[in-house]
């Protein structure tokens, strides 16, 4: 997709926005260029499979058959060393390279304020940004209302949901658009025009259809061919969506915030069933998820291009971590503390943020889960304030009420 500034202006010329666009673009370079991609790994990614603490004296004993080969071993399944304590999952090769290039930071032992172990409640609390279930809007939707005026004035739509369903984090009164891969061969422009005219008397449907058509045009204009390898599993959809997110966010007048869901992480059984992809096209159910995550991150970077990537923060979170020890079905059960990733040109990468308590039973939460030592909201707040320019007042009062204890992190983003 190539939307140059000139064609964008022409494209918007008929709309009432045109008056705002020119001065907005002239300002440029403030917060209006900042991009944020929020990736939610649903199901509860096992933090110790994603980011194994191989240097912890208890690690191999606690993990048993779940532990991959030690870093440096001559093995296709050797963990990828980060420092003396932590490594990355063997399938996160591209993310490991990003770490080395200072574009990926790793966070460990995080949890939302929620301490039970239900997927749905845990996701809800994490996405509504509070400590309970009462709040019905998502924190990212509330944040849209608090973005600097320039950010919103210079574009038709600031936020994009990549996927058919709006995640809780984006629900609320603030406007957003959405896109997911088309299910049918696309209709002719002529037919779509006819349908759009039939929609005119209906403002909601008309507006939604117009937004969706714009989104579809942008997606179709991008390079949608050669979407990764042909292993034909669901992770291909995620990789594709990451590419499309990059297309939406790259354009000067494109969206600035995107959310993407990536499900399937609930690894109760056969979690580390690995197959060598050189001999088969399928690496194993959970390894495929990591490969998808890895390739998806690379795809997003490629699709954004260097200039937009330099202005981007990608946050990858999951609702909770999992039990430290393996269960009876070679998997792990719902736990508490987990891992998260922060990537992008704006991230001060190559560092690990973790107050590590250790894996001895006495150091675990309720004797079974990784002990949570940091609230996710401290990371959310850091990104909103330091990257997207949300002011402290609304951040504390409206977006994350009752979160004073979850303080922002310094040194996580580039100045």
């Amino acid at each position: 997709m190539n939307i140059s500034r000139r064609t964008t202006l022409r494209g918007l010329a008929g709309s009432a926005l045109i008056a705002d666009v020119a001065p907005g673009l002239a300002l440029a370079k403030a917060y209006t260029d900042k991009r944020f991609v929020f990736v939610f790994l649903r199901g509860g990614m096992d933090g110790l499979t994603a980011v194994p603490a191989y240097g912890d004296p208890e690690f191999y004993r606690a993990r048993g058959a779940l532990a991959d080969d030690a870093p440096g071993t001559d093995s296709k399944f050797a963990m990828l060393k980060l420092d003396g304590l932590f490594a990355l999952n063997p399938d996160l090769k591209k993310m490991h390279a990003m770490y080395g290039e200072g574009e990926l930071a790793v966070l460990h032992s995080l949890a939302s304020p929620y301490r039970e172990r239900s997927h749905f409640d845990a996701q809800d609390v994490m996405e509504n940004g509070t400590t309970g279930k009462a709040e019905k809007t998502g924190w990212l939707n509330r944040a849209l209302a608090e973005l600097p005026a320039d950010t919103r004035a210079t574009r038709k739509e600031t936020a994009m949901v990549i996927g058919a369903l709006t995640p809780y984090v984006m629900r609320g009164p603030e406007s957003y658009s959405s896109w997911s891969p088309p299910t049918a061969p696309s209709a002719s422009r002529d037919l779509m025009d006819r349908i759009a005219r039939a929609y005119r008397p209906d403002p909601l449907l008309s507006d939604s259809l117009e937004k969706a058509r714009t989104a579809a045009d942008m997606a179709a204009g991008g390079d949608m061919s050669g979407m990764g390898s042909d292993r034909g599993v669901n992770n291909q959809t995620f990789i594709r969506m990451m590419g499309v997110a990059g297309e939406f966010l790259r354009a000067d007048a494109g969206a600035r915030i995107a959310t993407i869901d990536y499900g399937g992480w609930d690894s109760h059984a056969e979690q580390n069933n690995r197959v060598d992809v050189a001999t088969t096209r399928f690496a194993g159910r959970f390894p495929e998820l990591y490969i998808g995550l890895d390739e998806g991150m690379a795809k997003l970077k490629e699709s954004l291009g260097p200039a937009a990537w330099a202005e981007t923060v990608v946050l990858v979170v999951t609702e909770f971590g999992r039990t430290v020890r393996m269960n009876g079905t070679k998997g792990t059960d719902h736990g508490t503390g987990g891992a998260a990733f922060l990537a992008g040109g704006r991230v001060r990468g190559g560092q690990i943020i973790a107050d590590w308590r250790g894996l001895k039973e006495a150091d675990l939460y309720e004797g079974r889960d990784l002990y949570p030592t940091r609230d996710h909201r401290s990371v959310f707040k850091t990104v909103l304030a330091q990257h997207l320019g949300v002011a402290e007042g609304p951040l504390e009062d409206r977006i994350f009420p009752e979160s004073r204890g979850a303080t922002q992190l310094s040194g996580l983003l580039k100045a």
Binding site: A164, S180, A187, Y199
Partner: protein, 503 residues
């Protein structure tokens, strides 16, 4: 009576017109609706042969009584998951066929409403297999009865009990609770008050939640290992029931036993907030997204005066003048949109001949039967375009059945409403803004265009419009329909038109 009133009856209260239905309703639209509710309850024929909730629950327990190693040796691990999946898909396909063919569409809409009000979504493994039977057995027969009886049937259903953790709620001072040092789980108690009866602003406190939870301790499910219980059916465990008096909403209950909870439910069902909460949801469901408070009050009064007689309450909703005005404020939920198109076109899943699936017996369920769910597991690998047509053409009858079941499920899911997978105990949302986002609207249009190609050789769009939604179409949409350059385009415009999306 005007044709417009008939169209409102058929589209707003019904699911959408089958050919001829508009004419049938035209003589007396209100009467046409109420007659659908007056006969005795009958299970729709599509559900005949499906196993009961209790049978499923019992089979589930028995499956997990077999030691794991033995389970795997006999059939391989995960067979329960395979089974429930096939079961769910078949139940969903049958339910679509009911919606597509039923002569009682108003009844079907009420089933959707009440299932959503007392929703159990497919959300945790022990209820996967019982959600659809729960709707068939607990929701369907009760939609025109007394609210109090309905409430008891719901809260004593193993499906609801397990979904909201009442099977792991123990009186801390009960015999069992003291011996095992376990206590209360207030999940079901809370949701009864918040979601099923009084509503979140209905005037109860955290103390009331706890007291109600205490009152229903011991309400659980019979198990093969528990003597004196029917495995898979409701069972009251006296030894888990919290002893002593409980004080709920200002009234003291001290009878003990299962009756204590029943008395509590009877009183909650009669609480004025319950009448208001339930009425406001019903009025919103059938009239507009922002119901008139006077309408809600009128229905709530009927609810109170009739002691929660849902036949009376439903009749009053049909008779609300506003229900016959301001047409089109409601957006059809994806399920209803798909059903409306199927009714209009006479389409069904696998010629309305989806086979039922019995309970899961470890010794007889054959893993090789799962050919049908291959499609679901390999969506990204399926051929496309003309290759897909050839692929479908080569299917055996069993594969074809599996294919159509899968496609029916996928079509609704892709518009954002995976059947039976409501987002939580609060159910699906019921406002246009929740269902009218850009991507879901585009998915509806794409789906309508796909269907239009499929029907273009046998359906005339102008005649179909006349038989279904013409009185409700805007001038613009009618003009586009008439100007369409091809039959397929005309059908695309009709099936995706606001008149088909709204009610």
């Amino acid at each position: 009576m005007s044709l417009r009133d008939a169209a409102i009856a058929v589209n707003r209260f019904g699911i959408g017109a089958r050919p001829g239905e508009l004419d049938a309703a035209a003589a007396n639209p209100r009467r046409w609706l109420l007659e659908q509710l007056e006969g005795p309850f009958e299970t729709p024929p599509q559900f005949k042969g499906m196993a009961s909730l209790t049978e499923h629950q019992d089979a589930y327990y028995r499956y997990y009584l077999v030691p794991r190693a033995e389970r795997i040796e006999r059939k391989g691990d995960g067979i329960h998951a395979t089974h429930y999946r096939e079961l769910m898909f078949r139940e969903i396909a049958a339910r679509i066929n009911v919606a597509a063919t039923t002569p009682y569409p108003f009844r079907e809409r009420l089933v959707r409403f009440w299932y959503n009000h007392f929703v159990v979504p497919v959300s945790k493994q022990p209820v996967f297999h019982s959600v659809a039977p729960y709707e068939r057995e607990v929701i369907r027969p009760n939609i025109t009865g007394k609210f109090r009886d309905f409430l008891v049937a719901v809260e004593q259903s193993p499906c609801m009990i397990i979904f909201l953790d009442n099977n792991v709620s123990y009186g801390p001072n009960s015999e069992y609770g003291k011996k095992n040092a376990v206590g209360l789980n207030e999940n079901l108690g809370r949701e009864i008050l918040e979601l099923h009866t009084l509503g979140v602003e209905g005037g109860y406190t955290q103390e009331d939640v706890i007291e109600l939870a205490k009152g229903i301790t011991g309400w659980s499910v019979g198990h093969p290992t528990r003597s004196g219980s029917v495995s898979g059916a409701f069972h009251f465990y006296e030894d888990r029931h919290e002893p002593g008096p409980k004080r709920l909403l200002g009234k003291t209950y001290e009878g003990g036993g299962v009756t204590e909870g029943l008395e509590m439910l009877a009183d909650i069902a009669r609480h004025p907030s319950t009448a208001t909460f339930v009425s406001s949801k019903l009025v919103q469901y059938f009239t507009t997204d922002t119901p008139d408070p006077d309408d809600v009050k009128r229905i709530a009064d009927v609810f109170r005066q009739s002691d929660g007689d849902l036949m009376e309450v439903t009749r009053a909703v049909v008779e609300l003048p506003s229900a016959w005005e301001a047409y089109g404020s409601k957006l059809r939920q994806p399920w209803d949109f798909v059903a409306a198109v199927m009714r209009a076109t006479g389409d069904t899943v696998y010629n309305d001949d989806v086979k039922p699936l019995g309970t899961f017996d470890l010794n007889t369920y054959d893993r090789s039967n799962k050919a049908w769910c291959f499609y679901a597991e390999n969506q990204d690998r399926l051929p496309k375009g003309e290759e897909l047509t050839a692929f479908i053409g080569k299917m055996s009858p069993a594969e074809r059945e599996g294919w159509e079941i899968f496609v029916a499920f996928r079509d609704v899911a892709v518009m954002g409403q995976r059947p039976y997978y409501a987002p939580g105990p609060q159910g699906w949302y019921d406002k246009a803004e929740n269902w009218g986002g850009p991507d879901t609207i585009m998915k509806r249009v794409e789906w309508a265009i796909g269907k239009a190609q499929h029907y273009a050789d046998r359906i005339d769009p102008v005649a179909l419009a006349r038989a279904t939604v013409e009185p409700l179409m805007s001038k613009e949409a009618q003009a586009e329909l008439k100007a369409a350059p091809s039959v397929a385009d005309g059908l695309s415009i009709l099936l995706s038109s606001p008149a088909f999306q709204r009610r």
